[in-house]
């Protein structure tokens, strides 16, 4: 027998109360871990999405910057166009290591999904595009090599949706011609999964956008001053220069206010948990006044009693904490769906990233919170005198 066993057994005296307290702590921890995981996951996914684009700077026709940002990440509507000659001029500048021109086209397909949906086509230059996105891999086939011709490469999800494999023929919505599928990409977790890629010139012809482009992705030479180069680009008429760092900051700015709310909720959940613990433990101390007095008559020092109560609290909190962390792992999928539903913009990839660091942080904080909540009851208990129990009959 030791103090730990004594504390542990005390918790079984009021099983229901103990259970409810643990549930409270579990819920708080669950909220905290999920929200912290979201904070991390969101930023990571956004970074991955932006890095996955392969560009540092994107040139688009003038429009709203938020639109430009979402357009690049999600594929948007309201596309604007830039003349091909100007794009060629930028691409040939000495600061540019690599550039790839694209024509995006969005078509509403009434047969997609339940209520129809948009299909995003991307006309690309196969050589430069493939070089800037070397990480794109194929489940079947490979990139088309020609700059023209009725060939397409399907993103992973696009291929699933269209039910096409390499060698199959398919129609583009809004056009009569048939296109041959020459490649299907592996899943990347980015916007590329939903795209249908076709040669740039084919796209220009098919969508009737001769000599027009929606975007130029640029990667700069190693030691080029990016800001200075962007300044140069600003001089061009009717184009918008978007640096990826900027896009990221814009989006992070949009979500940062949401983050503050989210963390406040987590904080409040914790405070509630703390008072829950305080209340439970204080009640159990009051109920055991006599018993504690008797323990004191048997030689228990104030510090022994203090320790006993704090151990009870710690057991409650660590049990709840562990359960909460377990739940967050287990149900992160469901939480993710819920978060996506409420969020105006969510990048592809894992939105909730719970790693050992977050788990450890949550465990330590809930335990500390519990200990803080247990301090007062423990102090009260340590002050009980043997006489109090003998007299309180």
């Amino acid at each position: 027998m030791n103090v730990f066993q004594l504390s542990y057994k005390n918790l079984f005296r009021r099983k229901v109360r103990t259970l409810f307290t643990i549930i409270g702590i579990t819920l708080s921890t669950w909220v905290l871990v999920t929200l912290l995981g979201f904070n991390k996951g969101y930023e990571n996914s956004l970074n991955d999405n932006i890095e996955g684009m392969g560009f540092q700077i994107v040139l688009t026709a003038k429009g709203c910057p938020y639109e430009a940002a979402t357009l690049m990440l999600k594929g948007g509507t309201g596309l604007r166009y830039m003349p091909e000659e100007m794009v060629a001029d930028v691409a040939s500048r000495k600061e540019v290591a690599q550039a790839t021109a694209q024509l995006m086209h969005v078509e509403f397909d009434p047969n997609k999904g339940e209520n129809g949906g948009s299909v995003v086509y991307l006309g690309i230059d196969p050589t430069t595009f493939a070089e800037m996105k070397p990480y794109l891999e194929f489940t079947q086939g490979k990139w088309f090599e020609q700059q023209t011709g009725n060939v397409v490469v399907l993103g992973y999800e696009a291929a699933e949706l269209e039910q096409r494999e390499v060698g199959d023929l398919m129609l583009l919505s809004g056009s009569e011609a048939e296109y041959e599928v020459v490649g299907v990409l592996k899943r990347t977790g980015t916007q590329d999964d939903g795209m249908i890629f076709l040669p740039l010139q084919t796209a220009q012809k098919a969508f009737n956008k001769q000599n027009e482009l929606t975007m130029l992705g640029i990667r700069l030479n190693k030691d080029v001053n990016q800001t200075a180069f962007e300044e140069e680009l600003y001089k061009l008429p009717d184009v918008q220069v978007v640096s990826m760092a900027q896009v990221k900051n814009t989006i992070m700015g949009l979500v940062s206010s949401a983050k503050v709310i989210v963390l406040s909720i987590a904080f409040i959940a914790f405070i509630i948990a703390m008072f829950g613990v305080l209340n439970t433990v204080l009640m159990s101390v009051f109920e055991r006044y006599q018993e504690i007095g008797i323990l004191k008559s048997m030689g228990a020092m104030p510090k022994d009693i203090f320790k006993m109560i704090l151990i009870e609290t710690t057991i409650l909190c660590s049990a709840g904490g562990l359960l909460g962390i377990g739940f967050s792992y287990l149900f992160s999928g469901i939480s993710e769906v819920a978060i996506r539903y409420f969020l105006p913009f969510a990048p592809n990839g894992k939105l909730i990233l719970i790693d050992s660091q977050i788990a450890l942080f949550a465990f330590v904080s809930i335990t500390l919170i519990g200990i803080v909540g247990g301090m007062y009851p423990a102090w009260r208990a340590s002050k009980v005198r043997p006489l109090d129990s003998i007299r309180s009959e």
């Binding site: 004594l6 079984f12 005296r13 006599q290 008559s297 048997m298 030689g299 228990a300 104030p302 006489l387």
Partner: protein, 226 residues
């Protein structure tokens, strides 16, 4: 016989509003090692207050207390809770009218409780069995208090008071909650403890039956020995 407890002019005054209650009023008393002292008196006469003072469960208002020649309470000195705790575990075991067993612990665990807090108390399994045999609760070793009769519970409480090997057993109405048959058992047990271990017993009782076992009988009236 060697004096183990020496009480000089011990006084405890409770203040209830403007009224002063002399619960214990200038008591002088010598108790020798191996004595069984029965404390009797009317309800409210101050018996519990007196034995609590002797048992260091409470600080007196004034007066002196010596245990084994060592001065515990002196004029105007109030002892800290932890100092009192140390003295209590050095000298005393307590038995009360209520048993105060911890319901979630087995008989054995309840008896071993003092060993959690007093490092000097190291009870071997054999010693524990001996105590339990002596008190007739060996078969109940792994039972919970709720499964015991009142008499058995009181015997567990006595066993718990004994594991610290106290020199003095303070028993405040130990049979107050028991019927006459169980009271008889406890009475026999107290006699046996006194004979076998030479343990000094101070007990408060309303039962003339039990009071008879004392080699000394003290009657308290209005806080004084009469």
């Amino acid at each position: 016989m060697k004096s183990i407890i020496s009480v000089k002019n011990l006084t405890k005054i409770y203040e209830r509003g403007s009224e002063k209650i002399h619960a214990v009023d200038g008591v002088n008393l010598e108790i020798n090692q191996g004595d069984i002292v029965s404390v009797i008196g009317e309800s409210g006469s101050g018996k519990t207050t007196l034995v609590n003072l002797i048992g260091c469960l409470d600080n007196p208002t004034s007066g002196e207390l010596y245990l084994d020649g060592q001065q515990i309470f002196a004029q105007g000195v109030e002892l800290s809770e932890s100092k009192l705790t140390r003295i209590r575990s050095e000298f005393f075991g307590y038995v009360f009218q209520k048993f105060f067993l911890i319901p979630t612990l087995t008989v054995k665990e309840n008896i071993l409780l003092p060993s959690i807090f007093q490092s000097k108390v190291k009870t071997s399994e054999k010693e524990l069995d001996e105590i339990m045999t002596l008190l007739g609760i060996l078969k109940r070793k792994n039972h919970l208090p709720s499964e015991l009769s009142g008499g058995e519970m009181q015997r567990v409480a006595i066993a718990r008071a004994l594991v610290g090997k106290p020199k003095i057993l303070i028993a405040d109405e130990p049979t107050g909650n028991l019927d006459s048959k169980r009271s008889q058992e406890i009475k026999d047990l107290l006699i046996k403890l006194n004979k076998e271990f030479g343990i000094t017993i101070i007990m408060v009782t309303h039962s003339p039956e039990l009071a008879k076992i004392g080699n000394r009988m003290i009657e308290i009236k209005d806080g004084k020995i009469s």
